[in-house]
């Protein structure tokens, strides 16, 4: 590992903070704000207020020795606010396009968002498709296979999530973090085995699907100042198949 230095994201180094902008897009009421609330505060509201304009939140994650600050723009879903979206996704490094698995129309809308991002988003934009409300599988209208095939065709990330049960929420954001366009900046040929920040694209191929959980230790710190006190946040799917530790610092 010596000589290469710590993994870099957008040019920041070890101990340094690298921040990136992430935007959430998708039809109204698919659960964009709920996903953010789950990721940032670990909460879920049965009745989440509809977003006007956009809400801005941040969340800081420590992935190995790199501190990542997500700057999250959670946009309004109603069609008439659509024209404002470029203001939020322009300059974003990542976009999460959300649909509701119980509603076909929202999936169609998600596809139009993906198309728009491909056309107008920045060239290195990392796009993730999130099929939310996966806890309501009994009312499912969009098959996971269909969405997964679409995501593969578009070479974008895909996960089914539930803001309600927390399923795949943290994983989604971490998978995005790992996909950020740092690869080009990295000297190639470095062995990435066991290191979460190296060559995530390959990792995903290895595991055969972008649906699998990355298997991280995931902790939520109860306070930004007291880094020693943390509570175990995420018990599902924690497969310690990689030596990596991830802390989430409450903002």
């Amino acid at each position: 590992m010596t000589g290469r230095g710590p993994p870099r994201l957008n040019g920041a180094g070890a101990g340094g903070m690298c921040q990136f902008k992430l935007v959430l897009l998708g039809e109204s009421a698919v659960g964009k704000s709920s996903l953010v609330l789950r990721f940032v505060k670990g909460q879920f509201h049965e009745f989440q207020e509809s977003t006007i304009g956009a809400a801005f939140l941040t969340q800081t994650v420590v992935l190995d020795d790199t501190t990542l600050k997500f700057e999250i723009w959670d946009t309004a879903g109603q069609e008439r606010y659509h024209s404002l979206a470029p203001m939020y996704y322009r300059g974003s490094q990542a976009a999460v396009v959300v649909y509701d698995i119980t509603n076909q129309d929202t999936f169609a809308r998600a596809k139009t968002w993906v198309r728009e991002l491909e056309k107008a988003g920045s060239p290195n934009l990392v796009i993730a498709l999130a099929g939310n409300k996966a806890d309501m599988a009994n009312r499912r209208m969009v098959e996971a296979e269909e969405a997964k095939a679409y995501a593969e065709e578009k070479s974008i990330l895909f996960m089914e999530t539930s803001a309600k049960t927390a399923m795949n929420v943290n994983d989604l954001f971490l998978a995005i973090a790992k996909r950020l366009p740092r690869n080009e900046k990295q000297p190639s040929g470095e062995g990435g085995s066991g290191h979460t920040l190296v060559d995530p694209a390959q990792d995903e191929k290895k595991s055969g699907s972008c649906l699998t959980t990355p298997g991280l230790n995931f902790f939520t710190l109860t306070s930004e100042l007291d880094l020693r006190v943390f509570k175990f946040e995420d018990v599902y799917g924690v497969i310690l198949n990689r030596i990596s530790t991830c802390y989430v610092v409450n903002k």
Binding site: Q48, S50, A54, R80, M87
Partner: protein
């Protein structure tokens, strides 16, 4: 006993309008402010009672304007909004209209847009929360939004109206009145704000940018350097008319002026918020820091003191002529 009761009231988690105080609600500042404000309220109430004795309504005059700027007392607020906006007149000359509109079938796609938001409108408010079936305010909200969409197919339903109408219902406690006040608001006071292309809204946000340029070129150029369009910061200010942006009492004082004087007040308040945060803006590293700092305006003690805040609003933006705004509007319209 009564002393501890009134103390409980102050410390109550629910305010006079049914809202739960936010996590960052500063009870100490609030109590300190209320102890001063109560005597102001008593004085205003007695002046208004005198003003209204007899006719029970008011005509436009510099005195009434001054009174409105100093705040309409709660017990008269609803009636005065109806009166000074002329919504009452509109209602009286359109008897039966509201009921007719309610009876009409609404385009199912618009209806479902409305229905999606009903449970998501002030879910923390005791009148709108989802186990308050008894209070029926959610049904009233559905009705007013439906009647409005039926009457204004070119607007239909615009997210944001749910909050505005909910607040009207809390103050006016009447669907039909809320409907006609909403008519006045969207057709005469805030033209084009909630339309399908949000044109009026977008123009006015650009106008704010121009006003800031005139008042404080430093701030304007800093925003430009950071490539932050003002709408990033102020979108919700203009859509929700400061609901959920400023403390509720402050918001209602703004609405008092909105219904009497028109949209100018929205710009005045915006200018005050911008100027008040000059330091924050000038020292912000990037767009998100600017936005982050503006998010805190709700909990700034100064903004909780609605009386002082409104005084400041009128001082900060003096003079502001509607002619100036109209001129900027037509310039911005061309650039849109």
């Amino acid at each position: 006993m009564s002393a501890s009761n009134s103390n409980d009231l102050h410390r109550s988690e629910i305010d006079a309008y049914g809202f739960k105080h936010g996590e960052d609600f500063d009870y100490d500042s609030y109590e300190e402010f209320m102890s001063r404000y109560l005597s102001i309220l008593a004085r205003r109430a007695s002046k208004w009672n005198k003003l209204l004795s007899g006719s029970g309504s008011v005509k436009r005059s510099s005195k009434v304007k001054r009174y409105v700027r100093k705040g309409i007392p709660n017990e008269h607020r609803g009636e005065m909004w109806m009166c000074v906006s002329k919504a009452k007149k509109l209602m009286d000359s359109n008897e039966g209209l509201y009921q007719r509109l309610l009876g009409q079938e609404l385009d199912p796609s618009i209806q479902s847009e409305i229905d999606i938001d009903l449970h998501r409108t002030f879910p923390e408010n005791i009148y709108f929360c989802n186990d308050a079936a008894a209070s029926g305010k959610q049904d009233s909200l559905r009705n007013v939004l439906k009647a409005f969409a039926n009457h204004n197919p070119e607007i239909g339903y615009c997210q944001g109206l749910n909050y505005v109408v909910a607040m009207l219902l809390i103050v006016l406690k009447d669907e039909e009145k809320s409907f006609f006040l909403l008519e006045k608001l969207t057709k005469q006071i805030l033209v084009g704000y909630y339309s399908k292309n949000l044109r009026g809204l977008n123009v006015d946000q650009m106008v704010l940018g121009e006003l800031v340029k005139l008042r404080n070129p430093n701030i304007a150029s800093h925003m430009e350097n950071k490539m932050a369009p003002w709408s990033l910061v102020c979108m919700k200010w203009f859509v929700c008319l400061y609901l959920d942006i400023l403390p509720i009492e402050t918001t209602l004082r703004i609405w008092d002026c909105l219904f009497y004087e028109g949209p100018k007040i929205l710009f005045r308040v915006a200018l005050t918020l911008v100027l008040q945060n000059e330091e924050s803006i000038l020292t912000a590293r990037d767009t998100s820091q600017i936005v982050e700092r503006f998010r805190k305006v709700k909990s700034q003690p100064l903004n909780m003191d609605c009386h002082t805040f409104m005084q400041k609003v009128f001082l900060d933006s003096q003079p502001l002529k509607m002619a100036t705004i109209d001129k900027l509007r037509s310039e911005c319209e061309q650039n849109l």
